[in-house]
Subunit: 617 residues, 2 copies
């Protein structure tokens, strides 16, 4: 039974514009030589084109793709109907090349705008967007780490959509513990190695969208050290490529199976067997051995941010769908009429609890988007400044590093939470396939797991990012918020909320100090026990700050000195203030609960005997 | 492709025994005449039989049933392979009759034990257990509200498994707002009415497990008042029954469709059309008109408790599966060796963050189970005392009423949360069908929605239950916890935690006072806005109290005066203390965050203009 191609993807371009241009002033980038070839108008045109692609092409494929899933038959993977055409269209539109450097044939667009493009594409069809997403990451890594010959052989075809890409890290016994990988590489000649091993959980690992797939494979050269330091990166095409770009002999890469997943069912997650017949060859990336984890981290860092953005995309459309439903669905009467059975029915958006859910979703979605765009803007400013003011550039780079685990973890966790709230807003109608939110919830669940589980992000934040540059990145992060608090603690309308933010920052600092003390006294386990709570605290403080900042901007935009402002615009800005106040009053207090947990230093989970969990299993 | 019948249901009989007999002393019931026909041994035998049924019969059908789902073809519903045999076995074992009154041919067992039986059956196969669950509820309602003739006609067949039952409340435009139901009843003769209307979201509404289905249908007799007060309850069999029990002519009840759901896919959720051909007849329940909502509430109250217990069942097996996996899965080295790539791999249960997740799951599962059994025990004591000491009996009844919305909401929300934690414990392996946890998560999502959404529970708690009996039920609830705090605030080992409980109770009282003040000042919307937070606060305080009480019991059981105690038993009891400490230190602090939210009185979600949510949809 073929599904009618109905789009259920919803996006709010007005809100996106506010974040980009009114709040974060992304247009500042066009004044820098690095981005002076672009303008706001051009970027907006790309965003509009992307929105059209999302609502007209991939959006309508989202539900049907979920129902059909990928099929694995006779060793090959078939994607759902429509995916091949969507892939073609994507490349015809040039959306894939927007953020690729001009030197690679790309458009050289800013990450801040790419962030929005990715949100839109992931929101419309999370599963489909895995294929270009992986290809983009692999191409970016190849561009930065490959030799010229390697780039010439593969890159143009990856950017044209003829070839796709993957990242092959995990193995059956090496997931979070990447360094335990057993895939081997034996030197053959020059950059050429013979690859043997099995990789699993490979997103876009096999499919029918392209003529060829370029796998980026971590393997250990015979004799290399144990752990991550002995891993090298190999370019392992599914089919060999001749210098003229035409395809040669197939490489020895076999698809063992694909996973049957809870969500993103249209994204093929493959088990790949390299060298089953002793005939798998790969090219050593950049010609340098034992640099694999460093090279792969370039892709992984982008991928982590991309996962956070996937979360924003899913969360945003989940929210807007729930909002649309809440405005249309009539049920019950107004609370004040609860005793009158003849009182008129009202749209459920009039019920206080529905408004609570909606405003929580809105605040989080818009807060997360602002966070991701801000991270991307730091990245862009680093690009602009790296050859002009190395110190300033490094500070922007530091914020990118610091915020990456927060974007990955917070946005992925919240995407699931927001999809859950969206289901609850629909009630029973949210639990069935007729509406998109149950799929959003299933799709979103993977986000807290892949590209480094959210605990790995929290560990990264605490063990690496807080200490980076002698703690300077974290200090600058705190300073920015404290400066905001000092400037606005008397600003009418949000005074109480700004004060609450200041109190929360103090709590965050106490939590950081407590973790440091655990660490200094050798209690690494206690640090890890509290790592997720710490990340959540930092995320809530960050989001509260950004929402309040947005509220300040919105306040200057609305009101008496804008006499010709439409009522719609006035209400839009008022919504920004409401979202900030809601978040501070309903979400930010959790900071103090988590800090209480951290500072209490409870060791029950660490000290309990394994049998204390249960003597039954 | 047929799935191998693998059981993935896990249960912890030792933990269940602790809750029943060591902590809550359910055996006290056997001293009362009402339950003196039973003994602990007999109850344990039934529990053991139930556990066997769950692990050998319905547990292995859980995954395959999810994959197959129910089929709807040519107007009839087919359940997955194995369900018909499981249904037969269930009735052969007599499990359905355990808690039915002896006068109805049942075993007259206590609710406290039935609670555990239901946990086990729902945990093993949530979807399958919907069918007997609805039948049990319908039979119980018929027993208490039907005329003798009505009972004689249907009840024996419902208890033997020949017939099943349903409850038909919802209609397309009457979900949470039951009083908006449009289904009509026109008097024909005596108790016989002609029924016309459409009901939807009818669990077990159609299937192939029984010869007949007895629908309990809410409808409005022509001329009856609007709203819930004008609703009457009708017994509408799918097929008419002759006095000798044999089947007569089919009634005019047509299945319109079944839903395609996120989870509990093997439970048929039907749209039922009554009287499409003008030939649907029903019997007025008990022969009394306009008592439908009151009669249905008997079933709904039990159903709400049952939904909470479903949550416990799913959560418990999710936890134990995650625990089993964490003990087996090797990944990474101990935190203290993180710099040594050659350090031995360890089971992931050794990682602090995994222990955090496991102990959170354990504490919540065991806390919820204790809460549900305690509620059931109040019910049983009410039964025991109602003819002996009406005042005391009423106090127990009051606690049942007060705790019902908490059991329904908290356990359903936490089931989803715990399934999520279980998935996270597995990592990628939790996101695929090879392991049961992704199904648990999907199955659990419905629990916060049906039988009154969790917000309806919160509204019920605040608007009805807190005020019931002049506030006496709530006062007794608080008094019990405060008495515990006073008794144990110097008890070694848990002193800090007991003190924290006392502080949390004070916060709960402040929150209740704040809500009362909102109510008195006419801010009903503000009360509703904060209702869910209030319920969560009350739940956390309740669970913390029960876990600490369990810890006190466990402390008296382990230790030096039990020289012959096995190390396993010692560790079991130590686990109880650890769970209590963990909950108080890691979960209970959220109480203060929520109380801060409630008392702040923020109105942003209430005051924001509809367009403030978004101007895009």
């Amino acid at each position: 039974m073929a599904d009618a191609a109905v789009n259920s993807y919803e996006l709010d371009l007005r809100a996106i514009q506010f974040t980009l241009y009114e709040h974060l002033q992304v247009q500042q980038l066009f004044d820098h030589p690095h981005y002076s070839h672009l303008s706001r108008e051009e970027c907006d045109a790309v965003i509009a084109q992307c929105a059209k692609f999302a609502t007209q092409v991939t959006g309508p494929l989202n539900g049907p793709g979920d129902r059909a899933g990928c099929r694995f038959e006779n060793g090959t993977v078939t994607t759902p109907d429509g995916f091949r055409q969507a892939w073609k269209t994507l490349f015809e539109l040039g959306l894939m090349s927007f953020a690729m450097p001009t030197e690679s044939g790309g458009f050289g667009g800013p990450h801040a705008v790419e962030c929005v493009l990715q949100e839109i594409q992931s929101g419309a069809n999370t599963a489909f967007n895995m294929y270009p997403g992986l290809t983009h990451g692999a191409a970016d890594m190849l561009f930065h780490c490959g030799t010229q010959a390697q780039k010439d052989l593969f890159l143009p075809h990856m950017l044209s959509g003829r070839f796709s890409g993957t990242m092959c890290l995990s193995e059956p016994h090496a997931g979070s513990d990447v360094g335990a990988a057993k895939t081997r590489a034996k030197h053959v000649d020059g950059e050429i190695y013979e690859i043997t091993g099995q990789k699993c959980w490979i997103s876009a690992g096999d499919h029918d969208l392209t003529e060829n797939i370029v796998h980026m494979v971590l393997a250990r050269i015979d004799g290399a050290p144990a752990g991550t330091k002995g891993l090298s990166l190999f370019i392992v095409p599914k089919v060999w490529v001749k210098p003229d770009g035409s395809l040669g002999k197939p490489n020895d890469v076999q698809t063992g199976s694909i996973e049957h997943k809870m969500g993103i069912k249209a994204s093929a997650t493959a088990v790949l067997n390299f060298g089953e017949n002793g005939a798998c060859r790969g090219l050593l990336m950049g010609g340098v051995p034992n640099q694999g984890i460093k090279q792969m981290f370039r892709m992984m860092n982008s991928a982590r941010i991309a996962v956070g953005i996937q979360g924003i995309g899913v969360a945003a459309t989940a929210y807007l769908n729930a909002l649309g439903y809440a405005r249309e669905r009539l049920q019950g009467s107004a609370a004040k009429n609860f005793k009158d059975p003849n009182a008129p029915r009202v749209a459920i958006i009039e019920h206080a609890d529905v408004r609570r859910m909606l405003l929580e979703m809105k605040a989080k979605v818009e807060g997360m988007r602002t966070l991701a765009v801000k991270l991307a803007l730091h990245n862009d400013l680093h690009e602009c400044l790296k050859d002009v003011d190395a110190g300033k550039a490094a500070r922007h780079r530091g914020q990118v590093d610091l915020l990456t685990p927060i974007v990955k973890s917070y946005c992925s966790d919240q995407a699931f939470r927001i999809a859950e709230l969206a289901i609850q807003t629909y009630g029973g109608a949210g639990y069935v396939q007729d509406n998109p939110v149950e799929q959003y919830c299933r799709d979103a669940k993977i986000l807290s797991i892949y590209e480094g589980t959210n605990h790995i992000q929290a560990a990264d934040l605490i063990a690496r990012k807080l200490q980076a540059n002698g703690g300077e990145d974290f200090r600058l992060f705190l300073e920015e918020i404290e400066t905001f608090v000092a400037r606005h603690e008397k600003t009418p309308g949000i005074q109480a909320e700004v004060t609450a933010l200041g109190v929360a920052v103090d709590a965050l600092k106490r939590a950081a100090a407590a973790l440091m003390e655990f660490f200094m006294s050798g209690k690494v386990d206690q640090v890890m026990l509290n790592a997720n709570d710490f990340l959540a605290v930092m995320a809530d403080v960050t989001i509260a700050h950004l929402l309040l900042e947005a509220a300040v901007v919105a306040e200057t935009k609305r009101g008496s000195d804008h006499d010709d402002q439409s009522q719609e615009e006035f209400d839009f800005y008022a919504g920004k203030v409401a979202a900030a106040k809601f978040f501070v009053n309903h979400v930010l207090p959790m900071v103090h609960a988590r800090v209480a947990t951290i500072t209490a230093g409870d060791r029950s989970a660490l000290d309990v005997h394994d049998r204390g969990f249960s003597t039954a299993v």
